[in-house]
Symmetry: C2
Subunit: 394 residues, 2 copies
């Protein structure tokens, strides 16, 4: 059975062009780039090239790029650096809908004596900018706000938020792992101080990330060891994956148009047809600016997990808004923050596309998903055939 992969916000296929650039570094060119001999020096040159490719995608300078092991490490590094360099400040501003790499870290930091403000979002998933402004204090060490939400694709006005932070002398970090490669980013004309990238969200392999740190930003390393990355991140360079990430950044720049035209129109058609064919369904974040590849649809009176299992039988890969994979039966913290009613939040499915998706795949999902929902609803104690809910919790 063919796999129809529509979970690109979770992880992406490694682009064949990316693997091709990596292979020499997994075979003959295994030298340590920090070595004195030319067998290592050659590898160091290739890493420099990759650093240029990554910086080009962001409108940054190569020396502002620190290679890390993943987006989560980049997020942890940014926040811990701000706390370590802004010694007396112990307040963090973030949002209610962040990725666990920010959210769970902040929870832990509260235990260690920090104060954290989570700015709320409205029903469309948009950030409450008034509450954001009010949250900034003289004790705030850092603001960390994601550029685009992984579950809904909703895009936050990070540039505006960054300027407000800067005007108060506060460092601004953005987890941009979902945004990079999908929307244009130019850090040259920006007030953003730090930004996280995850390789495997843009067709590079898992296990590689970037933290952009603006020149002149006070910085304290998270992973401490050797002199790699100009003393800003210890550990032997993950050569092959760094090379792959550079190529992926180059490809992402080339494909940004396609993401915003062909991929967006696939997403739009998928979303429109599913809403048309399935009653009691709605798009979460639908009223807000969104990434071109993501749709998050709630189907009332069904369980997201059950939908995914049935889709899996047809080889369709998607994810539910709920945090089930962590063993929790709570619905997604993102949808709860948006005030999505409990019965709706439980039955949400995220479909996230990429340039590798086709019209035929969209046809297939439009064909298979409506009968799945119908059958599941037939088993639901809350569902009446005429489509009237008998209970709708919050």
């Amino acid at each position: 059975m063919k796999t129809i992969y529509m979970d690109n916000n979770a992880t992406t296929r490694v682009a064949p062009e990316v693997l091709e650039t990596m292979l020499p570094f997994l075979t003959d060119l295994y030298g340590n780039p920090s070595s004195a001999y030319s067998f290592g020096g050659r590898v160091a040159r290739n890493i420099r090239e990759s650093r240029e490719q990554a910086s080009a995608l962001l409108g940054a300078s190569p020396e502002e790029i620190i290679f890390t092991s993943c987006g989560s490490e980049s997020d942890n590094t940014a926040i811990m650096s701000a706390l370590n360099t802004g010694k007396d400040k112990a307040h963090i501003v973030t949002t209610r809908v962040e990725h666990p790499a920010v959210k769970v870290l902040c929870n832990e930091l509260v235990k260690r004596g920090c104060r954290v403000t989570e700015v709320p979002v409205d029903r469309k998933g948009e950030l409450d900018m008034d509450r954001y402004k009010e949250s900034l204090t003289s004790d705030t060490a850092i603001v960390s706000i994601m550029w685009a939400n992984n579950e809904t694709g909703v895009i936050f006005p990070v540039e505006e938020a960054a300027q407000l932070a800067r005007s108060r002398g506060i460092l601004f970090h953005t987890d941009a792992v979902q945004a990079v490669g999908k929307i244009p980013i130019d850090l040259q004309q920006s007030a953003i101080d730090m930004l996280s990238i995850s390789g495997h969200k843009l067709h590079a392999p898992k296990g590689i990330g970037v933290l952009y740190v603006r020149k002149g930003t006070k910085f304290s390393p998270f992973l401490i060891g050797g002199h790699q990355e100009r003393g800003r991140r210890g550990g032997t360079e993950n050569t092959a994956s760094i090379i792959g990430l550079g190529k992926a950044c180059e490809l992402a720049a080339d494909r940004m148009d396609e993401e915003n035209t062909r991929v967006k129109s696939l997403r739009d058609r998928l979303e429109r047809e599913l809403l048309n064919r399935i009653p009691h369904s709605r798009v979460n974040g639908g009223g807000a600016p969104r990434l071109p590849n993501t749709t998050n649809i709630s189907f009332e009176f069904v369980e997201g997990e059950a939908i995914l299992l049935r889709m899996d039988e047809f080889g369709i890969c998607a994810s539910s808004g709920s945090a089930c994979t962590s063993g929790s039966l709570q619905p997604s913290h993102v949808l709860r923050a948006m005030g999505v009613p409990f019965t709706m939040a439980h039955g949400s499915v995220r479909l996230s596309l990429s340039v590798y998706n086709t019209d035929e795949e969209v046809d297939e999902v439009i064909d298979k998903l409506p009968p799945i929902i119908e059958k599941l609803r037939a088993f639901s104690p809350f569902w009446k055939p005429e489509g009237q809910a008998c209970a709708s919790g919050t």
Copy 2:
């Protein structure tokens, strides 16, 4: 020109068998192992297998294995975890000859209010066990002592040291990145609580490591985020490299005999012949128990860097004991801790072999290195042709 690679303590060739197991995960099997669908579940099963392979090499249980991004991350994680879980304790015991991932981190922790004791070594590079015992206090949060030294190959009695720590109720961590795969390790009958592995030191790719954490050990995550690694290390699993590391661990177990017979005899012949042919040379750590693959030789009155450059012209890859790659002209902290005279420490070269080295390569180095030293000495102001030193600093 053929490369003669004798810098395996810096990094190693990825074993072709390892790359072969990785490739499916860099092409078709790109699913996120945390996903609900079977496309991800299959990957999760392969990761479980890899965890079993890694634990088998150590005599550990699979649930005691945490995959990290490198040996340095493993070291940082172990030490920071001990400080976070042993809250009032702020003393660390380590040695003067540790890797930067421990040494530089400890320097940083001193700035943050910790107290660090660096146990000295003697002229043979062996640990001063009396000083070690004296250093353990009721305030000691953790002992971190490397199993085998990266520069000299000298093996420390970590088991004895771990038992002493345990008898005082102190956590014991060992950076075993150079030891794993070269000497047998059985953690089942051990007092070691945590142990670091680096993939790229044993023919897995760069960018993957393991932290072993004994069941029941109090643990606090270093990289905080999602629920991966049972909540002990956030970040999407580096699938392909994890799979590769598992295979590399399996291979290492199979090749341990060869390391200790064929590779050891290559190293012994190389060392013997170089000492025979080059006057005023000596093996650093030669009198101590050592890894079978490593030799560190000082050639008096020459600069290690100059030797490496000349060797590079013949395609021979080795490293100097000095920390030149970090831009410092200071000789190695390891050799200085051993009391190696300044003129000797500056002229040291480390040759580290692997199962991929051959008799012919050893012949080539035995042939090429003596004339290199001779020529370099001819330029040295301290060298007299009859071999008499006119000055020998400390």
